[in-house]
């Protein structure tokens, strides 16, 4: 069996370790056996394409994509950036899905018991395809922080969940985007599960005057980097 790598490995100095005791839910759900190395075949290097699955511009505007009888409540923001691989190359035509709590910190989800109001005009779900330069752009409402039961007086910092597909199935990434200057970041076991401080900073969006639209919405820039081509091909 050859072990030629086409894509670089998952960067375990960047990704969190699976077992992180401060995050209680990992206790029974993290793997204890070492991962088994898998050569990269077509199974790993191909992946689903979403160019024809009917994603429209409206899907990327969370302030509009689910309105019923009024406007979504909260601070309107723009979240935009580029989807790149490690070599700096743009990943075009890739599907990015986002979901989040509303301005009050409440999700449209039957299991969310937080005593905060739902917004009938805000679902908190959107999707977009990256353009030829790997760019994406969402308009949304700044999510609120919300409490969770991980430890006493635990609050998640405001965040937007991101689900990203590259061209290869093993480039799949699910992550969370945070906001700069949030005092809850230092206290959050999920954010801090990534040991490396520089890697953690890659989860924090940057405020951007360029993306900010006058009289309309603040802008935040969030670039996402997927596994790229293996820099030095390995042969065995």
């Amino acid at each position: 069996m050859t072990s030629k790598r086409i894509l670089s490995p998952r960067d375990w100095s960047s990704h969190p370790r699976q077992a992180h005791p401060d995050y209680k839910s990992t206790l029974l759900r993290s793997q204890r056996q070492p991962l088994v190395p898998l050569p990269q075949s077509l199974s790993e290097l191909t992946g689903p394409v979403f160019g024809h699955c009917g994603v429209t511009g409206r899907d990327a505007d969370l302030t509009r994509n689910s309105i019923r009888d009024g406007e979504a409540i909260g601070e309107r923001i723009i979240v935009a950036g580029r989807l790149l691989d490690e070599s700096g190359r743009a990943v075009p035509n890739a599907l990015i899905e986002v979901w989040q709590a509303n301005a009050a910190g409440r999700y449209v989800h039957s299991q969310d018991q937080h005593d905060a109001p739902l917004d009938p005009n805000f679902l908190g779900a959107g999707k977009a395809l990256t353009d030829s330069a790997g760019r994406y752009r969402f308009t949304t409402i700044r999510p609120g922080a919300y409490p969770w039961r991980n430890h006493s007086n635990a609050w998640r910092p405001a965040h937007i969940h991101f689900s990203v597909f590259g061209t290869a199935f093993i480039q799949r990434l699910v992550t969370q985007m945070y906001f700069p200057g949030d005092p809850l970041l230092a206290l959050d076991p999920i954010f801090n599960a990534t040991a490396d401080a520089a890697a953690r900073q890659r989860l924090v969006a940057a405020f951007s005057t360029e993306l900010t639209e006058p009289e309309w919405a603040l802008g935040f820039e969030f670039d996402i980097v997927l596994r790229g081509p293996q820099a030095t091909p390995l042969e065995s």
């Binding site: 029974l28 689903p48 449209v108 989800h109 670039d223």
Partner: protein
């Protein structure tokens, strides 16, 4: 050069965005990948996700990516898209209706590439579903050969005799004595 964006957990509250939930938001994929018109043998994969105490994981997300019946991976022009997504129910169960994939063109046995996400998983886990009625091909599969024989069976879905359509059962154990084999490609 840039560095990889760290993974974060999918959390408990993804279903309104990622799965059909009656919210009016059209998801990009679901449990049903194929129907009677799809070339190949229509099958059902029924699974369960369990935690380290063998309790059902009721808020997991399972994604699959598989070849067509002829072993080739679908492209943009195929009606069969090869990608499915399901969340687990109150018993930790999930299912897919799809066609049985063909064997890969190189060598090896037919399989379904599978990704598992859940609250409490900071990274997704990547595994493969093989089929119990492909013993000959499974025996020659280089990926299965590379797995400790004791743990190998965690990768093989068992065919259940059911009237009409083949049903394959596959248990995903995130932790514990029967922990499923997860890969790092």
């Amino acid at each position: 050069m840039s560095s990889q964006t760290p993974s974060q957990t999918v959390g408990p509250f993804f279903s309104h965005a990622l799965t059909p939930s009656g919210s009016g938001h059209a998801p990009i994929a679901g449990r049903q990948l194929a129907d009677e018109r799809t070339p190949g043998t229509l099958i059902r994969i029924e699974g369960r996700v369990l935690d380290g105490k063998s309790h059902p994981v009721t808020d997991a997300l399972v994604e699959i990516w598989q070849a067509r019946h002829d072993g080739a991976y679908p492209d943009d022009s195929d009606a069969f898209r090869g990608f499915g997504r399901a969340s687990t129910d109150a018993d930790g169960r999930f299912w897919f209706q799809t066609v049985k994939p063909g064997a890969p063109p190189e060598n090896g046995a037919p399989h379904v590439n599978t990704t598992v996400f859940a609250r409490g998983m900071l990274n997704h886990a990547f595994t493969r579903i093989y089929f119990s009625d492909e013993q000959e091909k499974n025996a020659r599969d280089p990926v299965l050969a590379n797995v400790d024989p004791v743990r190998r069976k965690s990768l093989v879905a068992s065919l259940r005799d059911s009237a009409g359509r083949p049903v394959y059962e596959f248990e995903i154990c995130l932790q514990g004595a029967h922990e499923t084999v997860f890969f790092d490609a």
